[in-house]
Symmetry: C2
Subunit: 237 residues, 2 copies
């Protein structure tokens, strides 16, 4: 920034593009790997390759955080790890509850990548009374009725939903009412939440269908023989 460069960017943290935010964890992962190998500095070109993005995009992304690079040298790995961690809010602990401890919920509870980045599993919740008390990943499964008190006592602001789709909205409503303002949803449903609550979804089925679309296209490129006549008799009114 040539014109009027201030020492403290202060309120620049506002206005980081969403697309950039989504890439910061990617950079952070690559930087952490470099850090573990004691690499002191890295160029935008190298880091971009490691993160699988365009180097100009990476530099622009970092420019939103401030001028943390040194021309002719690159970026200081440790410093950048710290800056990105701080920007993402990973320098503090985030208590998380997982609701629905079935196949997926149990796998999530066992996932090591949780704790590694400031996320702490505060509790595992399930409606099934037969599960109550059973240990999963070293934590006892608690009954869903304890949701409200657990969220309040642990100041949980992030909830993970791994219940069947039919229960997801109800669980969401309870989480939100209890004070949770961020939800990661694994159930294949659209959740409605009030303003101020963020929802992100992970949907295996959707990802596969997108892959299938492109796969079909690839197959169609070569042998262009449409199976025609397959069209059902139903036509739009």
């Amino acid at each position: 920034m040539a014109t009027g460069r201030s020492h403290r960017p202060a309120t620049r943290s506002r206005g980081i593009p969403e697309a950039t935010v989504a890439r910061l964890p990617l950079y952070l992962r690559a930087l952490t790997a470099l850090s573990e190998r004691s690499v002191p500095t890295v160029s935008s070109e190298e880091l971009a390759a490691a993160a699988g993005v365009n180097s100009a995009k990476l530099r622009k992304d970092f420019s939103y955080l401030g001028s943390y690079g040194t021309r002719g040298v690159g970026y200081d790995v440790e410093y950048l790890v710290y800056q990105i961690s701080r920007e993402l809010g990973l320098t503090q602990d985030w208590p998380v509850v997982i609701v629905g401890i079935g196949n997926l919920g149990a796998a999530l509870a066992n996932y090591g990548g949780f704790a590694s980045r400031g996320f702490r599993v505060a509790a595992l919740l399930d409606a099934d009374t037969a599960l109550a008390g059973r240990l999963v990943a070293g934590l006892p499964v608690r009954h869903i009725d304890e949701l409200e008190s657990i969220v309040a006592d642990n100041q949980v602001s992030i909830g993970v939903i791994a219940t069947p789709a039919g229960a997801a909205q109800e669980v969401t409503d309870r989480l939100v009412a209890a004070g949770v303002t961020s939800i990661l949803n694994f159930a294949p449903t659209v959740l409605s939440v009030p303003d101020g609550v963020d929802v992100r979804k992970v949907d295996l089925s959707i990802e596969l269908q997108i892959l299938a679309f492109h796969e079909q296209r690839k197959a169609g490129e070569d042998d262009r023989q449409e199976p025609d006549g397959d069209v059902p008799a139903v036509m739009p009114a």
Copy 2:
């Protein structure tokens, strides 16, 4: 649209925006639910609400598929289900292999949403010989060395990776060499693949970090007290 409308859109399937493709599964899910309730037609407004998108966006999305609606009435549910299914390539069967049958892999194998949409689990693969032969979701776990023959024999074109990050690239290379051209990656690593191979990733850790970013911002809105002085002595060279 009005000018020269042909009966068979034929090669219009080319040129569907990626953003639209990503939403088609969402529409399909909502439509399937309507179909099960025997709802004959639905307006763009209603369907958009069910899918959680803007109605104009939905209409534009459908316009890429063709003119399947009736003005004044809406869309024929059954017909639209068929058209979207066909567009996504779900009218055919997609054999899929899952590699890495640990916590997550087992959960994926047990996932019902797999088979429900034309995806068939052709095999479960793992490097752990102790797992070989054990039944998971009714299927025996096969040893990773069978990968090549299984992919070839079943004409598998989609692979799901649920191994530790360290093994993901190696597994990818073997899958690609064997003929797989679409990969869904659950391991937290950037995969490199040759042109013509699609990779989509699902990364819990990234999703949580994005939520944490917004969560931190929300918290900062009210009590704006930056913990300053927290900055480490490390400065960029």
